[in-house]
Subunit: 222 residues, 4 copies
């Protein structure tokens, strides 16, 4: 039984004590860290820069100063590396989203918080988000990554429900389509990873604020 099956199930549920099915997991993943973590980070950078397919296992190994075969001491496969990258990101953002929802603020503040969280991941998870944006189409075709689609659906529900609540409460216009609106918000945020560079004119929160301004009140003068 390979890692592939170990991964099925949402990232949100992977957390602590799995790893049993790991082929060469020394101890728990938690202890394996250090080196492994480092390799994942290197790989993430390369995947982000060149794309998953265009990045070879050799590229990663070279970056780490070892031979490509040696990578297989740490990972089952190239896929399992990108899996780790994406799962980590999904775990974190979904937990953060859920935290906001659980606070039970009013829909407008909730949406604002969600947007801020999303923009907030742009910097720390730049590589993962880039991979998600650019290689999603390719990865989603693999069984192994079916869980990504599932997670996406859960997230969509959180947002859409909040928007609907906002409409019901008279905070948001009635003549907008909740699902459509969610998608546009989502895409606008993530796609910013293509040009967003930390240290530029605006930081991630500046971006978020700018976007919230436009999204809530439009670009027209009133």
């Amino acid at each position: 039984m390979t890692t592939t099956s170990a991964n099925s199930g949402r990232p949100g549920t992977r957390g602590a004590g799995e790893g049993g099915g790991r082929r060469r997991g020394k101890g728990t993943p938690a202890l394996a860290s250090e080196r492994r973590e480092h390799l994942v980070k290197l790989a993430a950078e390369l995947f982000a820069e060149k794309g998953f397919q265009a990045t070879t296992v050799r590229n990663i190994a070279e970056e780490a100063g070892i031979l490509s075969g040696s990578l297989y001491h740490h990972f089952d496969s190239k896929e399992s590396i990108v899996d780790e990258i994406l799962a980590g990101f999904f775990n974190e953002i979904m937990a953060a989203y859920q935290g906001v929802i659980d606070e039970g603020k009013n829909p407008r503040d909730t949406i604002a918080d969600l947007v801020r969280i999303a923009f907030g991941t742009l910097e720390p998870h730049r590589a993962a988000i880039t991979v998600m944006q650019n290689d999603w189409n390719y990865l989603k075709g693999m069984d192994r990554f079916a869980y990504l689609s599932k997670s996406e659906d859960e997230v969509e529900k959180m947002w859409v429900d909040t928007i609907k609540a906002g409409q019901a409460g008279g905070l948001f216009r009635d003549d907008i389509d909740p699902k459509l609106t969610y998608r546009m918000i989502r895409d606008t945020v993530w796609v910013a990873v293509r040009w967003f560079r930390p240290g530029g004119r605006l930081n991630a929160q500046g971006l978020a604020d700018h976007y919230l301004k436009v999204m809530f009140d439009g670009i027209n003068t009133h």
Copy 2:
């Protein structure tokens, strides 16, 4: 005519006066057989569906019912196929944009028209836009596609100038960033290609209208 000159240098549009190192190239692309046209279309679908890299030349040939080697009777390389796809799309949209600009309407109406044009390409150029979205990162690294970045810059200028004019004329809020706003609009439109399916609940113009509504006046009630 701006568009025309912007095109010069693009392989996909070399047409008449070439002949040099090119291997193939009797007749201008304009006259190029329907066969060729057909093959480009097939390839576009595959590139859109599976990604440029993941689509093999064999895939394309099989789809056309010929052998992979036979494709090279029509095209120099896999790249030249995708080039033809993208150049066609860029040519068209830039001409359309320029047409709107040349009409000289007020900035708000101009932006609205630009948005409508962009959404309007979603259906007829779905494949090209998908490739542009998903494989941009990979393609932009190749000399051959440098012209895409250049065209992109030209387009950005059209939009940003219009937004600035709108601010100067009191139509648009002063506290939004023109460049940032352009990018968000642009990305929101193109990225919709990932989920937009003609024949769904909303057609492309419905999408455009919805988006204009949100973008101009925001999602808040007032």
Copy 3:
């Protein structure tokens, strides 16, 4: 029955009225000329410049301003083109050699004449000789070109016999090896095609004279 068999037999015997076995020979080869002759010449230039293998049928066709498939109206195959080139050269030189032998001059004058004839082909048969030098190794492996080796043997006999006669008659030193000496002369002449350019400092006969001087009397002062 293909051309291949038609060619077996020495070039010297091909002469006028064969061609019966030709697959698409319109009339006799003699009449087919013009166009065909021209194509052979173009091909010869290309073979000489780039090598037989590296020259594609398309190269030749392009040079002639037609499509590659159209070449097959004139020739069976790429091989049959080079065959024609080499056979023509061999026919001519062997006839010339034989003419000299038949004159029955003394061995020293005979050798001198043979050398002059060989150098004399450098210009009119530059392409053929170049092909012979560069692609011999490749071509000799093909059944079709077995006749080249046979012709070579005949030629070798003419020279070696003459050298031996010269030794017997006291004209040439006894302590040189006739076969070895022949080979060195032969190679020295043909290999000159690599750098000999008509119109340079020395013409072909100047070259021949220089070589005869060195060969007969050495480079030492006496």
Copy 4:
């Protein structure tokens, strides 16, 4: 040391301070496994026998008992193999030539030594010389092998200077052309690789002596 600097820039001899874009290349070629060395030797034999172009990577791999892809563990490309072959030969012969020149003997003895060195490489470097003779025309067209032409020029200078010195010193006839004479010597030696077989009637030094005899004093009786 002339030879050393002449070599700089040759891929085959890059040795120590590279590392840049190269894919492979731990360790200097000098340390390069015997495995690699062995593969180069196998390839050299095949190139010599069938020609560079006609030898496929599969041929080489089969000869080595591995799969063609596995060759790329050792070499970048087919070209880099032939490069290694030729560079090795050029390195050695140029060093040997330079050694003779540095001895400062009289021109006649120097020329004799150079000739003997050249013939002396016929056996140990048979394959490399054969490749050089047969595939030169093809290889010289590639940027990668530009250094071969340069080395050739350096060698020419050594010989021509020596011949001229011999003329100036009254050892060699004044009425021979130094450059022409050099070329004839050079070609006569190398082209012998086509028929020279170690173990035949004459060994390489026998050949050299025979040639020197003819070259110095001619084939005439005096």
